[in-house]
Symmetry: C2
Subunit: 526 residues, 2 copies
């Protein structure tokens, strides 16, 4: 049984106002975001730490503004409960041409749209069925770890319904018989393996098996971009247990890291695949039952590949030179401490973040598949909120974000300030969408952005004046950056801190961006 | 034949980058917005001045972020051409699990979603049919004055297609025979009327008949909220010619202003209704043909109702008191001059704007039906861009917006600065969503917003430092406001100016908000 930790991150608007009256009296924490897309991102972020979250928006305008965030949660398996306050049942029955509708009397457009990006949808039209309807969509969210959609007509907000169902915890683990699940075939594969490995993939969070501290951890597998020895071991393995496979281009280095089917046991939510044989309808908790049945003595003793030499903590850098991609990501690691949330926005930050070695208990957020630019700032808000519930004093989130991405969702800085969260934002200022420029259009005007003065951000977005002036930093070279990272306010300070790091245009490093850069250099020399 | 004035307001992202290479070489002006929703709003704004506009976004993330803006344009009849750069045809055929997809191999989700909020959709998969496909959706946009959706796979951006079609202007006016259209029945109604009136309604822009300077203009008709004499005349009229009817709750004072069907001739795009008889398939230009056939001598001479006394220019106000809703909207009219664009955001601004008397050649933007909060700031960008094309030096746009709305789309201030547009933003600072508070939840925390320091806005968003400090103003009382409105920079200055006007919480005035306020006062006294 998973705990339902609800987080409400809505924006108020008329069709949901009556519904909102019930939020705070129910003991839920109210977070008013600056706009609905940011609210959806934040709800997703809360989710990824605390398991579940809820987002309330109004009909039409509100829900459509949020839908890109819901689609991302759908794609990357984050169960946001999207609650939509809709016009009253009588207005819907009359097909009234109300504001926030398409003025055509059709009230089903938006639910139909939502059906593409949510796992289940329900419309609370009947007090007798409401408890059952809500339970059913919540179960779908739990089973599939994906968003669901609940419409609440304005006149339903204060209708009394049966509370009997609340006495029984929502439980999905025993819904299916587990007699026929393929425990033994997997055990057989394990016992007979001579060169096995476990691949922990993108949908492991949904399987509740996030743990970056296994003693046998070899680090990120990056195929031909990493160690040749690891690659050889991977490619000649006779058993790959693939946990939470997520086989998209961006998550598999353009499909190059997908293990060979014949040697693979892949375990997803509700599906276990052994070689080419697919077992469906597996109930939650398969992995626990597998471990329960495992005879540890029969696990083959294997050596594994020789480990790559530990990366030195020394970072080659020119103290008077500007931070460059090649060394920045290893240089900045000194900032991290136990339990940190570290978030890296799509772009150079997310690529750079792959070089981080994480302290224990910390969590790294990177780009997976949806890759909606600017997502990571509101995500930081949501994740930090979730973390602050268990650790109000010492929670800390560190966001790395490019100046281009920042512009898209920048107003959510004010909610981080309002919620008094301990967040450090490192803005990579290179006056452009570097990642886009690397991909295409290196010298095109469409990759230029307006130049902002980030040093005014905290003051503009309402931080206390003294705090604002003391907690904005700028680094133009490594020596300045070193001093900033050692600063007490950065190390121990509360609230929001912002560090602007100036890096050069077209400075990208590390595969695959490094390869693209090499290509550009070759083009230039022609 | 309408002119196609294209405005590109996109945000770059990988699947559309190749497409973007063709924008500037084609002589189009490139505007990079801060995010896609703001870009859609801006495209809509450009549209409403210059007739057509185009928005380019990437697949999935980009188009879903923009969809709320497209839905608004669909509802309020603004023909935005939404161009989506999608993955290559080969990736789509392979059902590749690419980033920006839902990772399920289905490439049709987003076009299906778009079909709810666009008039026509097309997917450019075949070079032989591309010219015809584009022409057909553009015609749909022209006929219905609504958005259309064009998918351009990445590998189609540079495919050569036949240019023959470009020799013939896209023309829709003669597509239908006009022999059977009901000219004579309408003329008969006109010739026999004894108490006629013309009601100019919300979809007149689509009919190309926007003109606020008719000598026989009586002003806004507001039913029981306005003059009793006008109401009596309206309700006993024997002919109401309703141009561009748009019968939504917000556009008809909750359906109270809809004329009686039996006395009404209503003229929409492609539909003419006389009494209860609906004539469909009317080709564009019906109104011109009707006027051509009209025998002016046979128009009955009627008196019309006695006019309400002209509103005095004197505004009762306390120079040392804070601006209040009751007098602010009439006080601030002194700012307006010939040709201004005046934009009033959903909320108290839009209600207040109904009291404006407009100088000649000016245009007022108010809330109609979609009412997406924050829409009006990017709309200002788009409309001012459109206006600046015909008047680069002296164009001017004046935006009235509440502090709550401003937060949702605030970053687009930077694009107004970047594009060097002459814009005055009056921020109504009352620390809350007043309009929501009036409707419901007057004392609820969910209507509170974070407090920002607007005086840093221009500096933060990158205005030249001197310009920024000289063009931010704050008015806490009428005397300060008077001085600011007379300031040369406000009167004649170029670029962006911001005036923050502090008004009290819960200060709303004028019907229907005034009535709600009265109700609140009554509740309080109980």
């Amino acid at each position: 049984m998973q705990e339902l930790a609800f987080q409400i991150t809505p924006l108020s608007c008329d069709y949901n106002l009556r519904l909102l009256d019930f939020v705070e009296p129910a003991g839920l924490h109210w977070v008013g975001n600056c706009n609905e897309l940011n609210a959806a991102y934040a709800a997703d972020g809360y989710d990824r730490i605390n398991g579940f979250s809820a987002l309330i928006t109004t009909f039409g305008v509100g829900e459509l503004s949020a839908i890109n965030g819901i689609a991302g949660a759908f794609t990357e398996k984050s169960p946001v409960i999207h609650i939509v306050g809709s016009p009253s049942r009588s207005d819907q029955e009359k097909r009234a041409k109300l504001h926030h509708t398409l003025a055509d009397g059709d009230y089903r457009h938006f639910a139909t749209i939502a059906s593409h990006v949510t796992r289940a949808q329900t419309n609370l039209l009947d007090a007798q069925t409401v408890p059952h309807q809500i339970d059913e969509v919540l179960k779908q969210a739990m089973i599939h770890s994906q968003p669901v959609y609940i419409e609440v007509p304005d006149d339903m907000a204060d209708v009394c319904v049966s509370a009997t169902g609340l006495k029984t915890p929502l439980c999905i683990s025993d819904d299916l018989p587990s007699d026929n699940e393929p425990i033994q075939p997997v055990l057989d594969r394990i016992y007979s393996a001579t060169q096995p490995l476990i691949l922990v993939d993108g949908e492991c969070r949904a399987l509740d098996i996030v743990n970056g501290e296994l003693p046998s951890l070899y680090g990120n597998y990056t195929g031909s971009l990493g160690s040749d020895i690891y690659k050889a071991y991977f490619e000649s393995a006779d058993l790959i247990i693939s946990l939470g496979p997520h086989h998209t281009d961006t998550n598999t280095a353009n499909f190059s890291l997908i293990p060979l089917e014949s040697v693979t046991v892949s375990i997803s939510k509700n599906i276990v695949q052994i070689g080419d044989k697919v077992h469906r309808d597996i109930s939650n908790g398969f992995l626990s039952r597998l471990l329960g049945a495992l005879d540890v003595k029969r696990i083959p003793k294997v050596e594994g590949p020789p480990r790559s030499p530990a990366e030195s903590d020394h970072v080659d850098h020119d103290p008077q030179g500007p931070p460059i991609q090649k060394s920045f990501w290893r240089f900045v690691k000194r900032l991290f401490r136990k339990g940190d949330l570290i978030l890296t926005e799509t772009g150079t930050a997310s690529h750079g973040g792959r070089h981080f070695k994480l302290p224990s208990g910390s969590r790294l957020f990177g780009a997976v598949t949806w890759l909606s630019m600017s997502y990571m700032l509101p995500e930081t808000l949501g994740a930090a909120l979730a973390k602050s519930e268990s650790d109000p004093e010492n929670h800390r989130a560190i966001l790395f974000i490019g100046d281009g991405s920042l512009q898209m969702s920048v107003q959510e800085i004010s909610t981080i300030i309002k919620e008094n969260l301990n967040v450090i934002i490192l803005v990579i200022n290179n006056d452009e969408y570097t990642i886009e420029r690397t991909i295409h259009g290196r010298k095109q005007g469409y990759n230029d952005i307006a130049v902002w003065r980030h040093r005014y951000a905290l003051q503009f977005f309402g931080a206390e004046e003294k705090h604002a002036t003391e907690n904005c930093f700028t680094a133009r070279n490594y020596s300045e950056l070193e001093i900033i990272l050692a600063n007490d306010r950065i190390q121990e300070g509360k609230g929001l801190k912002m560090v602007e790091v100036y890096m050069g245009r077209e400075d990208v490093q590390g595969a695959p961006l490094g390869l693209l850069k090499k290509q550009i250099a070759e083009e230039d020399s022609q």
